[in-house]
């Protein structure tokens, strides 16, 4: 395989940096914004650029499980999922970072990355004030520039540059670091890596926020634990159960179930 070379080429670093730029721009509300929340597309991109899709995707999968519930459109982002994914997948492919350790490494990188996101939202205040001025004179070309062109260019520096430079300069140093991880620490990281997905699921359950529906979580857990149902059939079961729940609860007491009291 291609794991013989540790160093990544300048072109590869730039390509991965460009993904970080794209994630910064979020072009397309349900296309670009996804890149903030999900490490899987980032993993695929790194896999393609570094010619090792399987390893990158496996790292992406374990990050995805941990970050399942990280959602904050327009709100405060706790972790920069994309940054963590780009760096961890690259290190896994190029510096043989074990998957379990990559999950632990993702956390500090994610927190570092989110600072850039916060800076960005301060910088964006500049564009809207610029647009205010252009609006005074009806200069729509100016508004397009302030609202599309300038922010896109600034994000190239804010997001693309740090990732590209960091990867180009840092990967080989990192390989040495990985080789000195003691085995007791590796055991700990492996256990922590196995537990981390619990966080993703707990967040999703908490965000869905319906305490009276919690038995359905338990039902899903038991069905897989004891009946070993694969995930697609489980989704079909889920859809049927959801449908039946709605039908039964809306007929029982004149169309208003306990879940729908708020709409009464």
């Amino acid at each position: 395989m291609s794991q013989v070379t540790t160093q990544i080429t300048l072109l590869q670093a730039i390509l991965i940096g460009l993904y970080a730029w794209f994630r910064g721009c979020c072009y397309g509300y349900t296309f670009g914004v996804l890149t903030i929340f999900s490490p899987l597309p980032a993993a695929l991109w790194v896999g393609i650029v570094l010619h090792n899709i399987p390893v990158a995707m496996m790292v992406g999968a374990s990050l995805q499980l941990m970050y399942m519930g990280i959602l904050a459109p327009g709100g405060a982002l706790p972790q920069d999922v994309c940054f963590a994914a780009l760096l961890c997948c690259t290190l896994a492919v190029k510096a043989n970072l074990p998957i379990a350790a990559s999950v632990a490494l993702a956390i500090p990188i994610g927190i570092l990355g989110v600072q850039l996101y916060n800076i960005e939202r301060f910088i964006n205040v500049v564009w809207i004030h610029m647009a205010d001025k252009y609006a005074e004179t009806g200069n729509t070309r100016g508004i397009y520039l302030a609202g599309i062109v300038y922010p896109s260019l600034v994000k190239l520096v804010l997001y693309g540059l740090p990732v590209a430079v960091g990867l180009y300069g840092g990967v080989s140093y990192f390989k040495q670091l990985v080789s000195v991880i003691p085995s007791w620490l590796m055991n700990g990281l492996t256990v922590a890596g196995g537990m981390m997905p619990a966080l993703g699921f707990a967040i999703v359950v908490s965000v869905i926020g319906r305490k009276n529906l919690l038995p359905y979580f338990l039902l899903g857990f038991m069905l897989v634990e004891y009946a070993k149902i694969p995930i697609l059939p489980l989704a079909i079961f889920g859809a049927i159960i959801a449908y039946l729940h709605i039908v039964f609860t809306s007929k029982n007491n004149g169309g208003v179930s306990s879940d729908e009291q708020s709409t009464e």
């Binding site: 509300y29 349900t30 296309f31 914004v33 999900s38 695929l44 896999g47 393609i48 995707m57 496996m58 992406g60 499980l65 399942m68 519930g69 959602l71 459109p73 327009g74 706790p78 972790q79 632990a104 956390i107 564009w127 809207i128 205010d132 609006a135 005074e136 009806g138 508004i143 302030a146 609202g147 922010p151 896109s152 700990g188 990281l189 256990v191 196995g194 537990m195 981390m196 997905p197 619990a198 966080l199 699921f201 707990a202 908490s206 965000v207 869905i208 319906r210 919690l214 359905y216 857990f221 038991m222 897989v224 634990e225 995930i231 989704a235 959801a242 809306s250 169309g255 729908e260 708020s262």
Partner: protein, 290 residues
């Protein structure tokens, strides 16, 4: 136009009389929506969030409705005010805004403040609905379906769930925008009042919870290597005790622990991450868990 003047401004926007010559074509409305979809989050700022993106989407519309001059500039400024919603379900607000601007340009008595008021009044409820349905439920379900493939290292999981999600939300968004433009203010209030939307959220929540439960069972891996040794027998805590009580006891305990921490102690994801990491590291390094 005079007939409209005494009416409440909101209903004026709704009762676009069919014989009135419309200033905008469906194509204009669609084009404006695409501008919104493409750049909705590009300039999200702490001060006015999606305001600049909304204004950009309105530029082609306003250009068609108003002549260059004070009225046009005022309209631009109107749409640079604070705005934040879910880009898909909030599209209904986008459609309503276009309809109101069109009425205003045709001479309807709609003060600019009314348009701003409608926008800020509706953006919240639709953000709540949209974020719950699309981001918090559909997306995790869609990703969840492809997790097994991702774990095998397949490229499919890196793109297919996201294309699916994008297609579904594009259809939702375009439909909401159309609904808002055609039916105006009333569509929004009726939409919010009807029980249908609550049922959709209920159904999505059930499906989401069941899927998360199933995924947790197959993806959270916690087990203990501990062995209880007495004079004659060796008892494995995992195989002979925990698995006899409940398969998946430790994973379920872990998820429950994190959930209770978030719900009852502190809703701080970063803190939760560090605690979980710390617990895993220590128990793993000591050999209590494997």
């Amino acid at each position: 136009m005079n007939s409209l003047q005494n009416n409440d401004a909101n209903t004026a926007a709704v009762k676009a009389e069919p014989e009135n010559r419309k200033l905008l074509t469906p194509r204009d409305v669609r084009k404006s929506w695409w501008l919104w979809w493409w750049f909705a989050e590009l300039t999200n700022s702490y001060e006015r969030l999606q305001a600049l993106s909304f204004c950009i989407s309105m530029i082609p519309i306003l250009k068609k409705l108003y002549k260059q001059g004070d009225e046009f500039n005022a309209a631009l400024k109107r749409h640079l005010q604070f705005y934040n919603t879910n880009g898909i379900w909030g599209s209904i607000v986008h459609g309503i805004t276009i309809a109101m601007e069109e009425q205003k340009a045709m001479g309807g008595d709609i003060p600019g403040e009314t348009i701003t008021g409608v926008k800020t009044g509706l953006m919240g409820p639709f953000a709540g609905i949209g974020d719950t349905i699309d981001w918090a439920t559909w997306l995790p379900i869609m990703i969840g379906l492809f997790i097994p493939l991702a774990k095998q290292g397949s490229w499919v999981a890196g793109i297919v769930p996201f294309l699916l999600f994008m297609c579904i939300t594009l259809i939702e968004g375009i439909a909401m925008d159309k609904l808002g433009y055609k039916a105006g203010m009333n569509s929004a209030t009726q939409f919010l009042k009807s029980g249908k939307i609550q049922q959709i959220i209920l159904g999505a929540s059930i499906l989401g919870l069941l899927m998360m439960g199933g995924l947790a069972a197959s993806n959270v891996t916690v087990a203990t290597p501990l062995v209880i040794q007495n004079a004659t027998t060796k008892i494995s805590v995992q195989k002979d005790v925990l698995d006899k009580i409940l398969v998946g006891f430790l994973p379920l305990l872990t998820v429950t622990g994190v959930y209770v921490f978030l719900e009852k102690i502190k809703r701080n994801y970063t803190l939760a991450i560090f605690i979980l990491l710390g617990v895993g590291l220590i128990l793993g390094a000591c050999g209590i868990l494997k």
